[in-house]
């Protein structure tokens, strides 16, 4: 079927500026992804899935500019003992990175997947993304699979002693970064991956995660503070039996962020938690789009998304739990909430449940509200100044999401950044 005119021309304009990375065994995967993009077309504002977020600037041939924030001023995860992998405007920086060696994990750049013949990575690259294209199309992810020239393949075979920190530095005012990572966690293995930084003025990132039976993966990311940056990210995860996947995302600032997560629980007794806390002031549009599929027995999924909005900021949440026929004993929970610090902001939420099994417990809720005046007065009556009391209540609103982070030290880093953000806005 021919694409609508607007979609066709936008897609052609974007593709005209791009070149497929050459060579190697990923060529077929990239070409298949390119055909997916051509068939689906890039998103336009007419698409139902993009009803609340305008995709034009994420799709345009030329990337937006964004003033560069001094990342040394507020380093993230600095106190953590970690293995650093640095990308500058989407390009791996060997100088700034640690040696890619850590017991219990094998880390390679995706360009080496072929010459090193890393089989598992070939079985993941573009594969989970392609699975995630149905029932809803995610053309920006296919675009990423086709054109990403950099990224890492992380193979977790044991329990590394420290987290792996992917650091995304934004250096040029106008930069258009596309990164693609693949991660495989073997049975019984467990790792923590940290991500931070804006990456570029425009960032398209895709991560495919394959967690084998009884594997565990923790993912904590802090999306950069640069005000004008734009980002579209995709996370595709497939979980085996008794595996655990936990993800938390902090977003402060950024004019436009669309974070999609597609999680498939394919083995019995698997657990998937995905959480997000975002704080936005003024020109800020933040969209969490989540799709969780239960396709096995006795799995648990939990979505906790909290947004603090002020000065005309917009928060979007589209979250779906799909329980397939036979996925009995599913325990699904979804909450999306916004805290409005003034009357100018908006929160758009579309929570969905689709259930084809009869023995399941699923709940979802979405609320939007202001600071609790009674709680505020109670704190003030005890001598806590209004601004500090408001901050405390704001942090307490976000707490349910931040509490999804397993490591107390990492949660502290996240809270410190939130406190800083609030303090600067008094």
């Amino acid at each position: 079927m021919a694409l609508p005119e607007l979609k066709q021309s936008a897609t052609e304009a974007r593709l005209a500026t791009m070149e497929l990375p050459t060579g190697g065994c990923l060529k077929a995967a990239r070409q298949a992804a390119l055909s997916r993009v051509q068939t689906m077309g890039l998103p336009t504002r007419r698409d139902e899935y993009w009803k609340y977020t305008r995709p034009e600037t994420l799709v345009s041939a030329e990337a937006n500019t964004a003033a560069v924030f001094d990342h040394d001023e507020a380093p993230m995860f600095d106190g953590q003992d970690r293995l650093k992998i640095v990308f500058v405007d989407g390009v791996f920086d060997a100088e700034a990175s640690d040696e890619l060696a850590l017991e219990g994990v094998q880390i390679d750049r995706i360009e080496d997947i072929c010459c090193k013949d890393i089989h598992w990575a070939k079985d993941v690259y573009g594969v989970l993304e392609a699975r995630g294209q149905s029932p809803v199309e995610r053309p920006l992810a296919a675009l990423n699979t086709a054109f990403a020239a950099d990224g890492v393949a992380i193979h977790v075979t044991g329990t590394p002693s420290k987290p792996i920190n992917l650091i995304y530095i934004h250096a040029e005012e106008q930069s258009d970064a596309i990164l693609h990572h693949v991660i495989r966690v073997e049975p019984g293995a467990e790792a923590t991956i940290l991500e931070n930084g804006p990456a570029a003025s425009r960032f398209n990132k895709c991560v495919e995660i394959d967690v084998a039976d009884t594997g565990k993966l923790h993912l904590v990311r802090a999306q950069g503070r640069d005000h004008e940056r734009r980002a579209a990210t995709h996370l595709f995860a497939r979980l085996g039996a008794e595996s655990v996947f936990k993800s938390f995302t902090l977003t402060v600032n950024g004019v436009l962020t669309r974070n999609e997560a597609v999680i498939e629980l394919t083995g019995d007794d698997a657990i998937a938690h995905i959480a997000g806390a975002c704080v936005g002031d003024g020109e800020f549009h933040h969209d969490d789009t989540v799709f969780i599929t239960h396709d096995a027995v006795n799995c648990e999924s939990r979505q906790v998304f909290k947004k603090v909005l002020r000065n005309g900021a917009t928060g979007v949440f589209q979250g779906k739990i799909l329980v397939k026929d036979g996925a009995q004993k599913t325990d699904g929970y979804q909450i999306s909430q916004s805290l409005m610090l003034d009357e100018d902001s908006q929160f758009l939420a579309k929570p969905e449940l689709e259930i084809y099994a009869d023995d399941v417990a699923c709940s979802h809720g979405s609320t939007s509200g202001a600071i609790d005046e009674n709680a505020l007065f109670y704190l003030r009556a005890r001598g806590v100044p209004k601004e500090l009391a408001t901050d405390l209540l704001t942090l307490s609103f976000l707490a349910e999401a931040v509490e999804e982070i397993e490591s107390a030290e990492i949660a502290e880093d996240i809270n410190a950044r939130l406190e800083g953000w609030l303090a600067r806005r008094r």
Binding site: F377, A381, S396, A399
Partner: protein, 251 residues
């Protein structure tokens, strides 16, 4: 200590007058009690004094140790030494009780130009005071008042009062919802704070509390006014005969 003159208060949102000329003076070192039928304006008085929004003072004044209270923000009133033990303590999910207490104590110290208490010093003091009120470590860790029983909430109010060491304490129906043992604990907590430099205003329906916290002066409030003032015997009279006689007397 606390001086209220001809205080008139109405609701901000609707044209409804609640306090219709309240005069009251609580001296340092004294305990005053206010009794009165439901809806007479007792809680409103305590809220207006502590600075809750939604009320408009149309006439009159209120001062604490000579400083105009009505001009101050709620947190300034607290730092100046005013404390209200709430009739309905507020639950604050996500804020730990200990964090709450430490933030409050240090905010007041800071406002008064004093050094903040170190975490270790604070912990020591809080533990000692919590113990006398039978507040266990778990209650200190939990979010403020969340999942607390009625009695636990009231004991938590008294703990806050003990930590903040205010000059003027207003207790709004702190006895409601307390069993006999809890009443004793709370009263002992209050009595331990009785001091020549501190004033108390105890709002209650029952003589029972006043058996434990002996008042110097008892006021009866009805329909937005103090209609009668007397000694401790006035509370006994209310206990025996209710408010009907007193109301009839002044009508």
């Amino acid at each position: 200590m606390l001086e209220i003159k001809n205080l008139h208060v109405q609701l901000e949102e609707e044209d409804k007058q609640i306090l219709k000329g309240v005069d009251l003076k609580v001296e340092a070192g004294k305990v005053h009690a206010i009794m009165g039928p439901n809806g007479s304006g007792k809680s409103t008085l305590s809220y207006v004094l502590s600075g809750k929004g939604g009320y408009e003072v149309t006439e009159g004044s209120a001062s604490l140790a000579g400083d105009d209270l009505l001009d101050m923000e709620p947190e300034e009133r607290a730092a100046a030494g005013l404390f209200l033990a709430f009739q309905y303590p507020v639950e604050i999910p996500g804020v730990g009780n200990m964090t709450f207490l430490r933030t409050a104590v240090n905010a007041q110290r800071k406002a008064r130009g004093e050094d903040e208490l170190s975490a270790a010093d604070f912990l020591k003091v809080v533990r000692a005071k919590a113990k006398t009120l039978k507040i266990d470590a778990d209650m200190l860790k939990r979010p403020v008042n969340v999942g607390f029983s009625g009695g636990e909430k009231k004991r938590n109010e008294i703990l806050q009062m003990a930590m903040l060491e205010p000059k003027m304490c207003i207790l709004d129906e702190t006895d409601s919802g307390l069993d006999v043992d809890a009443m004793k604990l709370v009263s002992e907590g209050v009595n331990a704070l009785r001091d020549a430099g501190r004033g108390f205003l105890v709002i209650t329906h029952y003589q029972r509390l006043l058996d434990h916290i002996k008042p110097d002066v008892v006021h009866i409030m009805a329909n937005g006014r103090i209609i009668k003032t007397g000694g401790p015997e006035l509370a006994l009279e209310v206990e025996q005969n209710g408010y009907a006689d007193i109301l009839a007397e002044v009508a």
